[in-house]
Symmetry: C2
Subunit: 327 residues, 2 copies
């Protein structure tokens, strides 16, 4: 064997006994594209999904500059101080920063990364978002099997990644800054309406007043949004991750949310819907992966995309030609 | 030949000379799942995408009860009175109402359906949204080839259909009612942020005051949203389709929008992005269609979804098993 691969049972035992080294190795196994790894990975996944878990999955998004790392560092420490085990995963295929290296995240979350109760895993390196998101989702399941109570899925909030995150979490938190002007630049439209809560971060020093005003404005705006299927009314709070203010309030909000949706049945309904959605996504991704082992098809797809971008070919014809190559 | 099928050239000539019977037949051809039809349809599509068109594609969405049919009837007549040729297409896979019958739409849009300058086509009957949306998009291209100036794509605003619509139009209009309470029930979250304009309909009689207040509220809320990539600031207007009030204002808004995005290059950039997106969607849909001619695979997929819904199978394992059947 080319490297230190374990058996499914060894991975499973290691994960369940919360051996963090084995948990890390199992995530690496899942991210691997080697056929031998995939077989064990699928076997492992089907075994761990039979385990019970009581975790809460929290998505956190916000544009660069909003203080996401500091927030997760502070929020994570708040949770571990209550004895909760916290895992942090991120979906960020565009980022080269943390690619293949844990160092980036260790620096980003200085307190949490040395906490015994915390497990931080950077983005998998992968070329397509669908692939990255799938791996993140599977990593999430491994963390749950290892007994983590809260799984934080972090996204950058500027592309498709937060849609992927929204589809794998129970609660979705949007971090914002006061002002509503330039700092909003880049955030994807539609996110605000999907948030279960908005936290206006950096509500400290000279910004306290602006943050309070922003809070009122956003609260008014949220009331105009269509009601959620889960009958939760999204909230707006202010916080300062640096000064550790308002973090407890956010956790109380999340706990209220959890009580509500577990009471009205939405919690499990949503997880089932997410699983069905994930099934379709995975099926698409993996069918195309299987077919595109054909180098010629891969090259043709790239060529067709370039032609479409140049406006010299239409999508229907392009797809028909690709199908002729594949089949 | 089982029925009256034309050659590609005959379809093309008929469409370009705006023979509405042939346009209708061509759309039926495109919606057909018969292999012989698909070959001609693809041939036709690759030919018409080489034609020049100066059309504007407008998406209109809103929940049932918002007065969408009456609005499109009035708005369409307003446009034809200016000499514009108007086509109305709809994406609504859930609706059985108009399935395979034009009668529904003739009743829904009484004035427009008898207008020589208008062409109304109900939803294609189809089982999957992806499929329906693809057919709607291809029908849109046929209408453009037939010289229609404005293509209206109508959706119900309660599911995935408005995302599909948003991805094929230049301008997206959301119809709302005043009040912000129960009438919002059912509309999908995230829509409001994707709208280029919101029109508060039924601003007549006793509702004028409430509509004006709603307008101000929504305007304030929209300012909190992230700016659009196209640098357009979404607008809010009031209108009454029944009393034909405010319709001219909405058209002026759309014209301003068109000037802005044609000036700053976003118009063509957006259409190219939409084409690339459509290429990926089509590739997914058609690859799966090809593979799922296998009856056993189809049945297994249905079974797997049921198992996932029951919580007795996980998506990864389910997909692996489906792949084993397909390949």
């Amino acid at each position: 064997m080319p490297r230190n691969r374990l058996t499914t049972q060894e991975y499973l035992d290691g994960i369940v006994s919360n051996n963090r080294t084995i948990l890390s190795q199992a995530i690496t196994l899942i991210e691997s594209k080697r056929k031998e790894d995939t077989i064990i990975a699928n076997d492992l996944l089907s075994k761990i999904t039979q385990l019970e878990s009581n975790s809460l999955r929290i998505g956190i998004t916000g544009v660069p500059g909003v203080g996401k790392s500091t927030f997760i560092d502070t929020f994570g420490k708040f949770l571990t101080s209550k004895g909760k085990k916290v895992a942090v995963l991120s979906i960020d295929p565009s980022s080269q920063r943390t690619k293949g290296s844990i160092l980036g995240d260790k620096t980003r979350m200085a307190q949490l990364s040395t906490d015994e109760l915390a497990f931080i895993r950077p983005s998998p390196s992968g070329s397509t978002l669908g692939g990255v998101a799938n791996k993140t989702r599977e990593s999430l399941l491994l963390c749950e099997a290892a007994g983590y109570d809260v799984i934080i899925v972090e996204t950058v909030g500027v592309g498709q990644s937060e849609v992927a995150a929204k589809n794998m979490v129970d609660f979705f938190l949007l971090l914002m800054l006061a002002g509503g002007g330039d700092e909003l630049q880049g955030i994807k439209r539609g996110i605000m309406e999907t948030a279960d809560a908005i936290a206006i971060n950096k509500a400290d020093g000279d910004f306290v007043k602006a943050a309070k005003k922003a809070k009122v404005d956003y609260q008014n705006a949220l009331h105009l949004f269509p009601p959620n299927e889960n009958s939760w009314q999204p909230t707006v709070t202010t916080c300062s991750a640096v000064e550790k203010m308002g973090i407890d309030k956010i956790w109380e909000t999340i706990e209220s949310f959890e009580r509500l949706v577990k009471g009205n049945g939405y919690f499990s309904k949503n997880r089932i819907d997410q699983n069905v959605h994930w099934f379709h996504e995975l099926l698409n991704t993996r069918v195309l992966e299987k077919l595109l082992t054909n180098q010629k098809a891969k090259e043709q797809i790239q060529l067709k995309i370039e032609n479409i971008e140049k406006g010299i070919e239409d999508p229907s014809t392009a797809v028909s030609e690709i199908l002729d190559i594949i089949f």
